[in-house]
């Protein structure tokens, strides 16, 4: 409906001459100029981070911060790695576990919401979706005291296990959404229906028909959950401490250390960002589609 209406409008427009080649070329020229200009602005912070991380602490001064290092130094990287390594490991465990767990739950839920319509499904789905948007501040105080309570009887839960639980649970809504949208288009109702007529149970259908075609959606949710668990700070701040927290926590501590060593600090920024950047460069295409599904369709 909408598109025909616009085409109608367009038809009413007075015809104009087509553009001449020269003008089009000029347009592409400015286009490129603009693109390069904006790219330079976006890359500017990255430039200064890399340059500073490669200077020795002694070479850094605010006067010369924007110049290339006179002498390459690995001191900043070594110092930052030493400070962040244990937290990097904790973050890796956290991000991988939370991504796997919430993706698995998401695929189960997505399957149910897309193929097994039940009374109240829309309402429950909408309630799930709202959970995706809530400001976590609204649950943080009771969540913190709940976790402290639980940890007083199950001490092994302190630190990363607590964060895995939190990220898994609060990752359920978005994973459910991604899988539901994926199954709605990629998995024809007829196949599921046919299997059911053949007498296959719900779980069996999920295992032998739904899961095997789920890989693309899994890639999306795994990447999405990995990056958001890796990058989270709020949960880390409320639920862990310096000795048990993930790398965002350690980086924040490193950066607010009393003696600012800028080469160490900037190297730390790069080290803490490397895993998500690698994921992003290697699997960029899926990353983008992960972003896309972040918008409710």
């Amino acid at each position: 409906m909408m598109s025909t209406a616009t085409v109608d409008t367009v038809e009413k427009i007075v015809p104009r001459k087509k553009k001449v080649g020269g003008k089009k070329l000029a347009l592409t020229g400015t286009q490129y100029l603009l693109l390069v200009f904006f790219a330079a602005i976006v890359l500017m912070p990255l430039y200064v981070v890399v340059v500073t991380s490669l200077k020795s602490p002694a070479e850094y001064t605010s006067l010369t911060a924007w110049s290339l290092p006179r002498q390459l130094s690995g001191a900043g990287w070594a110092a930052a790695w030493e400070a962040l390594a244990p937290a990097m490991l904790r973050s890796m465990v956290l991000a991988v576990s939370a991504a796997v767990l919430s993706s698995f739950l998401g695929s189960l839920n997505g399957y149910v919401f897309s193929k097994l319509r039940f009374p109240g499904a829309t309402l429950i789905f909408t309630l799930f979706l709202f959970g995706m948007f809530i400001p976590y501040q609204a649950i943080m105080i009771p969540l913190q005291s709940l976790m402290i309570d639980v940890q007083s009887t199950a001490q092994w839960l302190a630190g990363i296990p607590t964060l895995i639980i939190a990220h898994t649970i609060y990752g359920i809504p978005i994973c459910t959404l991604i899988f539901r949208n994926y199954y709605a288009t990629a998995l024809p109702d007829e196949i599921v229906e046919a299997a059911r007529v053949d007498g296959a149970g719900t779980l069996r259908i999920f295992r032998s028909i739904v899961l095997p075609v789920s890989a693309p959606a899994f890639v999306v949710t795994l990447i999405w959950q990995f990056t958001s668990a890796w990058n989270d700070f709020l949960f880390a701040l409320f639920l862990t401490n310096r000795n048990t927290g993930p790398v965002t926590y350690a980086l924040q501590e490193l950066a607010s250390a009393q003696n600012p060593d800028y080469s160490r600090m900037m190297a730390g920024v790069l080290i803490a960002s490397l895993p998500t950047l690698i994921v992003y460069i290697a699997l960029g295409k899926y990353f983008v589609s992960g972003l896309m599904s972040g918008s409710v369709k």
Partner: protein, 300 residues
């Protein structure tokens, strides 16, 4: 009966997630709201919070909270407008497919992969407030080197009611690429036939955008607006990393809540603050969820 049989196992599969969401999202929200009405008196008899709706009146009436709300408003407006503007601009520059599109797209999008903490550490340094040859650091130093010293300023530390506009700069830097990606997907979803048809009819490029492309992008624009808006309302990490734990000039409700809890020793005020934040987000998100629900049903 037969119908129940088909969906019951599905509901059982869903049950763990339903319970988790019920307890950890709605249960905890409920507990938070309940505690926001608490009356608290210390053992020595000092009244910390009156209890009931008076708690809300106290917070809403406090100058500090109003200042935080104002900061949030400035931040949100500048951030959302900035991210939408640059996102759309970049998408338009890229949508017809230029050589090296992939590279540009990756460059614009890469800040999205970085945590707010990591980028905050960098932007904190970039937006150092010192100006002039003697003191300039970061961006101000760059401006001097580029021969634009008159553009130096104290960024978010400056004495202005609109200082939080500067805090929106790193946020735009980080998320404009996301908006671009959303719009690009939207452009790509429009068939070339429609454009060609309009072009054959002799419509100018601008008219094609105005009358053919933009109207079809409006649902995506709405999504982007909602996502950016609710992110801005919740923004905590970035401000915490840039301005430190206790910065009045850059205070927003989300950072104030943290201080209320751990510095002001007033968990009830923190709960009130968090509840209002939830209401603000709900105000933005719920109509949107209802709207998408309706359009989805209409589409079926």
């Amino acid at each position: 009966m037969k119908k129940v049989k088909t969906w019951l196992p599905g509901v059982l599969l869903l049950l763990p997630s339903i319970l988790l969401v019920l307890v950890f999202v709605y249960g905890l929200i409920g507990r938070n709201i309940a505690s926001s009405f608490d009356r608290v008196e210390t053992k020595s008899g000092r009244l910390v919070s009156e209890g009931g709706l008076a708690n809300y009146a106290t917070l809403l009436g406090s100058e500090r909270y109003q200042h935080a709300l104002w900061n949030l408003l400035v931040l949100t407006v500048v951030f959302v407008v900035g991210a939408m503007f640059f996102g759309l601009l970049w998408a338009i520059l890229l949508e017809k497919g230029v050589t090296g599109e992939g590279a540009f797209r990756s460059i614009y999008l890469f800040p999205m992969a970085v945590s707010f903490i990591a980028s905050g550490v960098v932007w904190r340094w970039l937006m150092s407030p010192g100006t002039g040859d003697y003191e300039a650091v970061g961006l101000n130093r760059l401006l001097i080197e580029l021969g634009l010293p008159q553009l130096q300023n104290s960024w978010w530390s400056s004495d202005s009611r609109f200082n939080m506009a500067a805090m929106a700069i790193p946020a735009v830097w980080q998320l404009a690429g996301y908006v671009m990606a959303l719009f690009l997907a939207g452009f790509r979803g429009i068939t070339t036939d429609q454009r060609e048809a309009a072009r054959m009819d002799g419509a100018s490029e601008w008219k094609i955008y105005r009358h053919v492309l933009f109207p079809q992008l409006s649902p995506i624009a709405l999504s982007a607006l909602i996502i950016m808006g609710h992110m801005s309302l919740k923004m905590f990490d970035l401000i915490y990393a840039i301005a430190g734990q206790n910065s009045y000039v850059s205070e927003v409700p989300a950072t104030l809540m943290w201080l209320q809890l751990f510095n002001l020793n007033d968990p009830v005020a923190a709960a009130v603050n968090a509840t209002i934040l939830l209401l603000l987000v709900a105000l933005v998100v719920v109509p949107y969820l209802v709207y998408t629900n309706r359009t989805e049903k209409a589409g079926r």
